[in-house]
Symmetry: C3
Subunit: 328 residues, 3 copies
């Protein structure tokens, strides 16, 4: 029974890859979402933003259970998913130490763990340290799964919330210019965002990064192959004057062998009052957070400082995904 | 007030030991459940299986709170209990590190901790590393308690879910044959199951274990004293051909001083395609999980592979116990 | 937008300091509560005690989310807050290891963390190891915050539940005598309680402490400056015979360099049968818990042993605060 059910499911899954939200079975990779699916999801997220405590919508998922199975701690991501479920009245069973999960320690496979957990919950949110784990896990079970990050692999809800934030902040997803700033070599976030934005029309990219953490060729080649305009730049103020979206990222200390190299790289492109003065009035500053000092705190009160709204958009996107995947 | 209430409660407790579900106050030892109580509980569990998200039954325990107080981590057990409460709309306050619970570290007794926690919750689920803790804890409070395992002591919900699984899978609890396979010396699960099954008629046991972890005399003597047939066997395929239930268990590495002894013991009795071919059509393979390689993965898709359904039955049994103990 | 909103909020906050529950924005310091506000809060707490599972009041906070953000573990306090939210039907997103919160580890400020979390939840409960953190956190966000202890700083809900317990147990907050016993030098609890009780009339204090942990001059001076009677005493039985409230505390081992000094101090003032015989019939024994052996277990069944009821009053006070701060 289990086998035939799962085989049928896998076949369906291939068929639904980018074939519309109504048949979406899991959220494993950002590439599952084509433009139409993103726009449809964003409309659901807009509705989620209007859910108020005590209103009927706030009990939409009453009686449903989500299991958050985290093999490595990521408190921010976990809280965001659990808040999303809670805002819709759903229940949560949660562990932040699935890696030490006594069963995993005893030699249980990820697939066995997943099949046990699917017996308890209606949907599973998985965080794992190994790329590809989310796909393996989704294939093992007959219930929807959301990938909350699988190591150097995917973190699709981050990409979705970033695109959603651009739509909300500047009002469109075509015909705009975006600067990606900071660690472009290692940042999973900016790489995924660039990839996701290839689905929209007339987007121009600026890459502004210290030499040691420049955007890699694979993304540049992808953009070029799709006829998308991009350029590398070094004058952040000049770039700022020309963009609709300034996406800043943190330079990660742990990437540098030498503390002086880190200090030089991390201090090079700071978003401060001067940059904000250059930035057009209707643009937005984004950042995946946490922020250290690559955006100065003075800037937080500027209406264009969108990074805390961006974090909150993660909540709405995750609420929307839960609703869609649970078919409620 | 507290004292007289507790004295009265203890008196009642003795009186209700095996006197029916309606007066059951706590679930501490498997021996509290006679055959009639088990059957009654299993009927409730059957109803629990039909509770659907959004249906009125799914909010049966709305407003009730369960405290899961775990002095040692057991994520699988904790998630199962929390899912059971969540499926019925109840709330959860949970800790997986009660051992480091600041109060315990400061010298607070288990009884004091329990009396504090009973002030917050309607029912307590306790996991402890010391045998007898669950009884002490249940005696300290005026609210129901469920023992989720107290060290080498009891883990009554495991025994109940095992018996329940047999009833569901083969349709009866009398007149059947069961093989207990693997580590029969140390496995709390198989020992409890054997003990629980003495309440039913015409059950025959086969014990199939490597020499170093054979079933101990106490269980054999118990069966003999009750006139229950049992035998030790070494040919798993031959036994498989004759049973209704094949209950496989994991050989625990940590029981062996010598890695070669472990390898020899753990490799001796594997459930694979050959064993499945020998097994009758209407039988079931059970395993308390986690499984390492004592059941090969190929077997998972066989309809008789019941171990993931068995894990899920734990959910229904725990839902049933919560309903019964909270008198809802 | 964020900035102007926060500026407006801060102005309001100053204006509401001790100006009535209806405009209370956060619960950061015990001094925010004047006598009238305490009495009003206690009336709400009385109503909370009558909330039953399944009754309409038990879903009062349905759809609301509380985030418990603990930078150090305090399981008892966390469970009490989460039970309070759960008893009113609210949802919880919780972390007990916010100190290792990956974002904090990466250099995120407390203010940034708070602004992210306020995007998820309707109310935040913060436990931190640094005095003043709760005020900083409350100022950073536009949603209510409850201080669940900030290091050597404040723990206002403990002070409130202590005063509430006195009102419930002896029926009044004026015209009574209280003995504070044990570690009066380091105990945050007794110091806060003494300070809070200065708002009531005709309260007399006895301080009964081993020499090394005597009540400090600041509290004595405060009482004297307000014309409040206090005296130091060494004969616990004699004091017991004269008081309405005997508030015992634990002598903390870690305060003593020398184990013999600790043994001598901790054994000096024990509440036992003899002390209970001296204590008037209508009085109450309180203790903030956990208790080691400064109150003998024999005494627990005496109707005047109020410490477990006191712990439960913490639940009612926290339910009341949640209701008040969420304006439901």
């Amino acid at each position: 029974v289990g086998a035939s059910r799962r085989v049928a499911r896998d076949a369906t899954r291939d068929a639904t890859y980018a074939s519309g939200l109504a048949t979406l079975e899991s959220c494993v990779e950002a590439e599952q979402f084509d433009r139409a699916m993103m726009e449809e999801l964003f409309d659901v997220a807009d509705a989620m933003e209007r859910v108020r405590p005590g209103a009927p919508e706030s009990t939409m998922l009453q009686g449903y259970l989500m299991s958050t199975l985290f093999y490595e701690p990521s408190t921010r991501t976990r809280l965001s998913f659990e808040a999303a479920m809670g805002r819709l009245g759903g229940g949560i069973v949660s562990t932040e130490s699935a890696g030490e999960y006594s069963s995993a320690a005893k030699g249980e496979t990820l697939e066995d763990t997943m099949r046990t957990v699917e017996g308890y919950a209606d949907i599973v949110v998985l965080r794992h340290f190994t790329a590809g784990s989310a796909r393996r896990a989704a294939n093992a079970i007959g219930k929807p799964l959301i990938n909350a990050g699988d190591g150097p692999g995917q973190h699709p809800t981050q990409a979705l919330l970033d695109v959603y934030t651009i739509r909300k902040e500047i009002g469109r997803l075509d015909d705009f210019k975006i600067a990606l700033v900071g660690d472009l070599a290692n940042g999973r976030t900016v790489r995924s965002l660039a990839s996701a934005l290839t689905q929209f029309n007339n987007v121009k990219f600026y890459f502004v990064a210290p030499d040691v953490v420049k955007m890699k060729d694979d993304i540049k080649d992808l953009l070029t192959s799709k006829g998308i305009e991009w350029e590398e730049a070094t004058d952040l103020a000049a770039v700022a004057a020309d963009v609709d979206v300034l996406y800043q990222t943190r330079i990660q200390k742990e990437r540098f062998a030498n503390p002086e190299d880190y200090a030089k790289a991390s201090g090079k492109y700071i978003v401060d009052r001067t940059i904000m003065d250059a930035l057009p009035k209707s643009s937005v500053v984004m950042h995946p957070l946490p922020r250290v000092d690559e955006i100065v705190v003075d800037v937080d009160d500027d209406p264009r400082a969108g990074y805390f709204r961006q974090a909150q958009n993660g909540l709405f996107i995750r609420m929307a995904l839960l609703k869609v995947l649970l078919r409620v």
